[in-house]
Subunit: 212 residues, 2 copies
DNA sequence: TAGATTGTTAATCGATTAACAATC
DNA sequence: TAGATTGTTAATCGATTAACAATC
């Protein structure tokens, strides 16, 4: 259906465009040129136009872009014009933090279940949900329509849980486990590796030291 | 001091190499060729050799790489051969989760303070620390040697806090606030934008739908 | 020595930037 | 119409992959 496969580099910039356009809207700004946006975002106007034209012709020559129209287009492109049901696997610190964080449901990402294997956690109330035994995950996925699973468990269990997810037709995994998941082609994974991130930061700090 | 600036693409791969080498060590494997590692990591052997040779000649022709030696080299390159003192600004869900997560201190990233502006949170015990009034942040940074600040606060306050950090000589910011921080050249920022990440995931899901 | 595998140069591929005709 | 700014092609830049001489 799509003409050309969009590169991940372009995709990763879309949420940032979306955020800046949202800010412009909040400030009552109704039109913007690639040149002005370029100055705000510190990327080239050329790149902005190239990126947007991967998805359509949203601007008007001599005028620029209608902020609201562009905002809505990017929203649609990102798939934010619908709701997603999500479950959290692993009710540790991170799983709980995600469950309690209200900003996801504002965007249409709704948590409908949270699971753990620890008997001390099962039954606990977290973000308006009760922690369920991970042993019931299989049955739960079978009964409920779940779009995305959040994996916030130690890496030792990640592969086994992933096969349960895949078996039940889960198409998206938001992976916080420190492991590279292998999934079929029709299951997409987005990784958040916080340990990798802090290591990248310490690299940058070392580089700073060395360049002095 | 460095010859050529290493690109961020290469740097971002280093923690992944480090993780795979750690796994090999755990499994008692003492040597590995770029070809074998290539199969495990699903990247080309050529890229592995190119990446590593940006930092030095760690292999031996006809033999491969000594796992432990390479592991230690990457550890050093990433700046993981020292300790970092960190403070958390924002004792919300995420700030608390990070404070409680034990894996960072195992790697040398030690939390020595956590701050919030909410009177209900101040005084609370989180991860063996007591939440302090963010009003005391300035004085705290002045008295203590802090390497990295974790910003887990709403974006509205992020800029103001950042200037306090910069003023006190903080060189590294691990930014969870959904805003692009502007800092001087000698202050490095590593962003973790969870909202962007989940949007990237929903894009991937939409793409999957459209390609059917 | 023969086989294996690196380090490194060269070739290719892809992404970013520049340029400009089209057009509002 | 004149000025502004897009959409898009062409040029450049950088990153990845291929190839192979060096050498363990």
């Amino acid at each position: 259906m799509e003409e050309d496969k969009i590169s991940i580099a372009v995709v990763k910039r879309l949420p940032r465009y979306y955020r800046y356009l949202g800010d412009l809207l909040d400030n009552g700004i109704t039109r913007i040129s690639s040149g002005e946006l370029s100055k705000k975002m510190h990327i080239t106007a050329s790149q902005i136009r190239q990126d947007l034209n991967k998805f359509g012709r949203f601007g008007q020559r001599g005028y620029g872009y209608d902020v609201e129209l562009l905002y809505e287009e990017i929203k649609r492109i990102l798939g934010l014009d619908r709701q997603y049901n999500m479950v959290i696997i692993g009710a540790g610190n991170l799983g709980q933090a995600l469950a309690n964080y209200g900003n996801f449901s504002r965007r249409g990402f709704n948590f409908i279940g949270i699971f753990d294997k620890d008997p001390n956690k099962i039954g606990m109330e977290v973000g308006n949900m009760r922690v369920q035994d991970v042993g019931e995950l299989d049955a739960f996925l079978n009964k409920n329509s779940v779009d995305i699973a959040v994996l916030s468990i130690p890496k030792t269990n990640a592969s086994q849980i992933t096969s349960i997810l895949v078996k039940n037709g889960i198409r998206g995994i938001w992976n916080y486990s420190h492991i590279d998941l292998r999934t079929p082609d029709d299951v997409v994974v987005e990784n958040v590796h916080l340990t990798d991130s802090v290591m990248t930061l310490s690299y940058k700090l070392s580089e700073l030291e060395n360049s002095k």
